[in-house]
Amino acid sequence: MNDFLAPAPEQIEEGVTLTPEDLRRSRDRTLVVQARQNGRRRQLLWLLTGPGILVMLGENDGPSMLSYAASGATYGIGFFLPFIVVTFLASFVVQEMSMRIGAVTHRGYGELVFQRFGPFWGWMSAVDLVLTNLITLITEVIAIRVGMAFFGVPPLVAVGCAVMLVALTSSGARYWRWERVAMALALFNLLFVAVAVLSRPSLGQLVDALITWTPLPTGPFQGFLLILASNIGATVTPWMLFFQQSASVDKGLTPKDIPQGRLDTMIGTALAALAGCAALVAASTLFVHHIDSSSIQGGAGYAEALQPLIGTFGSGLFALGLIEAGAVAMLTISASTAYAVGEVVGGKAHSFNRTIRQAPLFYAANIGMALFAGLIVLIPGMPLLAITLNANLLATVLMPAALVFLLVLANDGEIMGARVNSRPTNILGMIITLLVTLAGSSYAIVAFTNSLSGKGS
């Protein structure tokens, strides 16, 4: 038997009961085995890509793109262009660990925290995730609503489309189908690159900013910290850990697939960094023209603000990009919630390879969260703008706890064997945890003291 055809029949216990989930996953895995046997590298990569690209482009969501746009419009490209690149590199380090743990243990993040550290920490992780995911999902629906409003679509229709998208893509009981639909949508994130090109940036200034990190931001410190923490929360967040690990498990990745999983994450990082930087560059046109970005955030949005500078086509693309960003994130963030709920509520099926009847809790969490977020957005008088601006911040604040568990799991020799973290990965992981903690807590403390003294941002 070929080395890749694990396991040998005698290794499987007699009388083991197979579920439909096993069979559906095995159909996808058969193609992987055949591609590997026949040395078809490109096909192998095509079959194994998915969770990495999706998690990265999914995190280029509504609030993230608005954070990048706010950075460009407020401070120009000087400091934040290289900063965004660095945050994506940090995100790659974290997500690679997440993928590797999933491929080796075949268990999701929530499941592992629950089983290895006990129900208390498992529940705490899940509560953190559900809280941040709910707030983030609200912001995704806001992004879709704002984007569609640019084209004259009424709020009720926009919100209905958002919820229907989650419900329709979830049908079919196949992880592969769900993943490919989401990936096809995610590629439209690159619309922001077209918007950036239409804004005609100076190539020399871009290169200069990437090398020198200048000009440095000026203005109120609290405002700078808010943008800084929001940009970190735009690339490193708890749902990403839950999602990529669980999606890698649902896809059926094994330790042999780690190189392709790593490449998948790398491609996702590059595409997402490109789109994120493009949003910053496009909105920096407003900074160049000395347009007050705070008034834009309070108005009809960046798409309309950019219209006189880059034209109707460009601003229309920005609005489309915003709809796409919200739509893909709704799929991935709802999925991460569903995985976490299924993993933590012991023994419940949690896979897109199950039907709704076989995994009712999983699908109820997936579609229910999207529906709940949609209903909140429709409540008149909700502070939608304030929620959007603070969503990434909350993710940054709650991230250190998730990162510490990830690092412990990635160094857990009992479950990871020889695939524990290397020393450089551990050092990078610890630096990232420390910086995320510092960024979140610095903003929280400065904003809190300013609010007590009545200074505000």
Binding site: F117, W121, A349, A386
Partner: protein
């Protein structure tokens, strides 16, 4: 739940299922892993981190609510 009895030899699904690793089957992943033995120091550190995160979250929520019009 619908299940399929495995390894009645010659079952048409046998060939398919060989593409999965034994510890990848739902039957295997449904078995919980043993608890990690956290040292006292690690336990205290996790608690301190949790308290810190909750405090910072409270500050963020307070600032957010206070800033609402």
């Amino acid at each position: 739940m619908q299940t399929i009895d495995r390894l009645s030899h010659g079952h048409p699904d046998d060939e398919l299922i060989l593409a999965l690793e034994p510890d990848q089957l739902v039957a295997a992943t449904s078995k919980p892993l043993p608890r990690y033995q956290l040292s006292h120091t690690a336990n205290v550190a996790l608690w301190l981190l949790r308290i810190f995160v909750l405090l910072i979250t409270a500050l963020v929520i307070y600032t957010f609510v206070k800033a609402l019009p």
